[in-house]
Subunit: 418 residues, 2 copies
Amino acid sequence: MLVTEDTKISIERLREDLKQLAEIGRGEDGGLYRMAFTAADMEGKAWLEQKMKDAGLETCRDGACNVIGKLAGKVADAPSLVIGSHIDTVPCAGILDGTLGVLSGLECLRALKEAGRVPEMPVELIAFSDEEGRFGGMFGSQAFAGQVTPDTVHNAVDPGGLKLADTMQELGLDPWDALQARRDPASIAAYLELHIEQGPVLSQMQEQVGVVEAITGLFKWTVKFHGEPNHAGTTPMPMRRDAFMGVADFAHELPRILDENGSETSRATIGRVELAPGSPNTVPGEARFSLDVRDTDETVMNELAAAIRKALAAVARRRRLSFSYDAESWIHPVDCDAALVDIVEDAARSAGMRYRRMESGAAHDAQIMATVCPVAMIFVPSKDGKSHSPAEWTAWDDIEAGAQVMLGAIERYAFAGA
Amino acid sequence: MLVTEDTKISIERLREDLKQLAEIGRGEDGGLYRMAFTAADMEGKAWLEQKMKDAGLETCRDGACNVIGKLAGKVADAPSLVIGSHIDTVPCAGILDGTLGVLSGLECLRALKEAGRVPEMPVELIAFSDEEGRFGGMFGSQAFAGQVTPDTVHNAVDPGGLKLADTMQELGLDPWDALQARRDPASIAAYLELHIEQGPVLSQMQEQVGVVEAITGLFKWTVKFHGEPNHAGTTPMPMRRDAFMGVADFAHELPRILDENGSETSRATIGRVELAPGSPNTVPGEARFSLDVRDTDETVMNELAAAIRKALAAVARRRRLSFSYDAESWIHPVDCDAALVDIVEDAARSAGMRYRRMESGAAHDAQIMATVCPVAMIFVPSKDGKSHSPAEWTAWDDIEAGAQVMLGAIERYAFAGA
């Protein structure tokens, strides 16, 4: 591997870019409101495109309104190294999630351009549309990877009931163009994404950079226990069919289920519980709860699902309840490309960064891109593990470290020849 | 005990009364909507008062709008045996709760009057206002027992925010008159109430009548666990401070707490659970739940409360949570009067009824009346334990049995001399 590492990113410029983009869509509560396909989102895209142009990149937007800036390579028609993330936000967001990946990528390409360095292959920086899933999926990367169908274009709605198609049309966009956003996989060499961790691991371990080896898969169920609503005073304990006690018993089994069937990367979360009738003096006749289970290994996911079904059945039998569940989603885990992960690790190690190999517990555009090309990710620490909140933050030193590792990875991959 | 048992109640007349009153306040869904101090409630009271007059009783309404019908006794100024219950309902109620106690009492007095039988002491039949607590308490019996203060009159509101005082005024009633509804305890010899069980015990045990020995006390807490809201994917299990897992652990301890500290009559119910932020992919940072705990023995209630505090503290420590609770109410248990219970039991036994001694797990006007006089209660079975629902029902045979036991108890108590 031929490496030249004389190029440095400028944390001052990156900081200034973050500051400028943080002004677009800012709410009165200090949070960012740059939800996909809102006026603020479009203003952010325009700002970004201008920044790309200023950096000397060739820019374009594809049919899904993904914004792309290209640094040409020596071999013009070689497949590209694609880097990026997204600049759309959840409501009341912080300023880093997604945006940091796009703007640190911009700084990398700007630094390379400024240094007059020309990669072997083209490097394309992309800001994918609607990563946060306002319209239900990762619209931009899915379109790019050829996963969007006319059904998506026609039926996708946001939580307020607005249609994606109508929303795009009002912005002067043709929603059907999204079906043309698919890129020939032969034109993509690899995808690299920098992102905040959104978890507490790097911060608690005092690392600067996470070298992501895998992105966890997940399944989401809505589970219901049915019992019988009864008077809390007049119904003796042994005569009850208390749906909530079923949930409690099951939740209590979760640590055992993870211990017996899970791995280090397993997670299980009950985030929402609804009881009916929900009155303090009535034994709950029905309990509905969400179950979010993750692991980086699909075999483990299957074993967890089987163990959970057994536990639900056993609890229901013991408590004289019935149960049912809706399997709402099953997202496959993704292994990052081993060679690409080694490149990222080498970039971190030779720059003297404190880093660790880890998995991503959250979903990212990289997960979609993995269906068409090798992918890897770089994490930077999230203060207190917080994200999707104005409290989201990463120390400037760590941001600098992450961006520099991204630049090192680009140098190792795109300058070494395909 | 001198007993003459030649008088019989008429189930046909009682059935006809129940049918007529069930037409007042009936909703389109088949449920009754005769909530206290609504037009339907007032129409029900007027209907009842006319029925009392038709039966030859002297009627009046006191300042709390309790409707009273009096069967005079041989000793005119002797303290009265008071019998009764209430005819107000919860929204979407069945036709028996409360009403059965009033109308079976009416049938008892009508049968006695018809038979020309004059008791030693007066027997007063009363329909207490707002037993169901639209305005927060058992307004009618509390006023009768002298527990209503100007504060109640001025500040009581219903769940819709309507003030008791305004509501009464709109009906042409003076709310301040409620302060004059207090009856001198010296004028009350005892209180007897017939009510549906509202639980499954008599029905499952195939008994016709319950002889109530005690009314359970209860305490209601709202408990909060505070943890930390975190991303369900990125937060490793050992780094979580999951408020819901605190609730699950605590709920799982409840059976042990009841086994170790409770009695046969102990009940503990978690009827409502609210998680924040309540999103499927966020570890709950806060969990709030209702806790309703009952027993017939106040010492046991205190021991349960102490054990619950210990369990909450232990769970919080183990899960790295903090907890707090609001003790919203503490209602003392009430022992029924032993002599009065014996009288009810004797009436049931000598009429050849299948009966059992039991406790009441629900609150009743009798609980308030116990602060001023000896009380006892007669239960009839609730089909499937259901109440506060149009599905509430009791077989006619059992209604007849209960009313006949009430008549037997009146004969034993009011005809035997004070």
